[in-house]
């Protein structure tokens, strides 16, 4: 999604719209509830950036925090997941998958079911997840599940998680 990241237009948000976004985010990531004020301080300038292909980015004081494709769920930026790892379900891929994930590949089921991989949390299909890797402490990508974890185990073939944001993609390097 972010092979290149370029904000075409920005729009300052009305406080009511801001509140709507906050509500949606806290709805989606209940674990963030008590730190949401740190992430999006009430006084901060919240701006919505529009990117190519209907991607919206929520910028707080000019720093991307969340992004969204069309009306889909809000995804956190990787840096935010690094700060608050508990905010979303975690899936851990095996060692062999790391280099593919870092270059932006979707996550195939075998990479999640093999011996080195673990699925820390159970989740349904179409849920935002953080991708970790065997032997690593921090997340390396954000994705959206295409099947539930149960299905991933039983089918064990094809794309399990669609990748949306990964280390060193356009969005990452733009905020470096």
């Amino acid at each position: 999604m972010f092979r290149k990241y370029h904000v075409e237009t920005t729009q300052q948000l009305k406080s009511s719209v801001q509140r709507g976004i906050r509500a949606k985010i806290s709805d989606q990531y209940p674990a963030l509830d008590d730190v949401l004020d740190d992430i999006m301080p009430k006084k901060a300038v919240v701006v919505l950036g529009k990117c190519a292909d209907k991607v919206n980015v929520v910028l707080v004081d000019d720093v991307p925090i969340f992004f969204q494709h069309r009306d889909g769920p809000y995804f956190p930026v990787l840096r935010l997941v690094h700060r608050y790892p508990e905010m979303m379900p975690r899936l851990r891929v095996d060692k062999g998958a790391i280099r593919f994930v870092i270059s932006g590949a979707n996550i195939m089921c075998p990479g999640l079911t093999s011996a080195g991989a673990t699925m820390h949390d159970e989740c349904e299909a179409d849920e935002p997840v953080a991708i970790y890797a065997e032997g690593k402490e921090h997340a390396l990508a954000i994705g959206i599940t295409k099947m539930s974890t149960e299905e991933i185990r039983s089918v064990n073939k094809g794309i399990g998680v669609d990748l949306v944001h990964y280390l060193r993609d356009g969005l990452w390097t733009a905020t470096a």
Binding site: E137, H138, A176
Partner: protein, 163 residues
């Protein structure tokens, strides 16, 4: 829930543990520290040999430099991004004809590929150029290198827009 401060590598911007996975210089240095030492020794040898023949080398260097300059002036594809009406962009490609590219056919191919208007226009110097409606500067460079006999070094990007 307390925030965790993650340390990022200064060269590859990743968390430090991922340096080894992204061919970052720091990660590579750690892994190949002993190999590097060998390399250093061999490079030292190399420098001594070059210093012996230093006189000739400098002469050669100036010659090739001037030659390169004239060559790059002769053959180059310049991709310019221009703005029109605030947010609308035009991508202009000049110099393709020097690589034996049929501009008319190229314009059709580009127009089709990017689903945009693409036309052959007379440039400032009287040469034919291509104008694409929209900002395709990045993808266009890739496409040109892929389809035509143009290397990535022959491409030059110019940004004349305000955005």
């Amino acid at each position: 829930m307390d925030p965790i401060e993650v340390e990022y590598c200064s060269t590859c911007t990743c968390p430090l543990e991922y340096c080894e996975n992204v061919a970052c210089a720091r990660g590579a240095a750690e892994k190949l520290s002993d190999v590097k030492l060998e390399e250093k020794a061999s490079s030292e040898q190399a420098t001594t040999t070059t210093s012996e023949t230093g006189g000739d080398a400098s002469e050669d260097g100036t010659k090739t430099k001037s030659g390169k300059k004239s060559k790059s002036k002769a053959k180059e594809v310049v991709i310019t991004r221009m703005s029109r009406n605030r947010r609308k962009m035009i991508t202009n490609v000049a110099g393709l004809e020097k690589f034996d590219v049929d501009l008319k056919e190229a314009s059709k191919a580009f127009g089709k590929k990017f689903a945009c208007g693409c036309s052959v226009t007379k440039g400032a110097t009287g040469k034919d150029e291509l104008d694409l409606q929209g900002d395709y500067s990045e993808q266009l460079g890739e496409l040109i290198v892929k389809t035509y006999d143009v290397s990535a070094e022959d491409l030059r990007f110019v940004d004349k827009s305000k955005f």
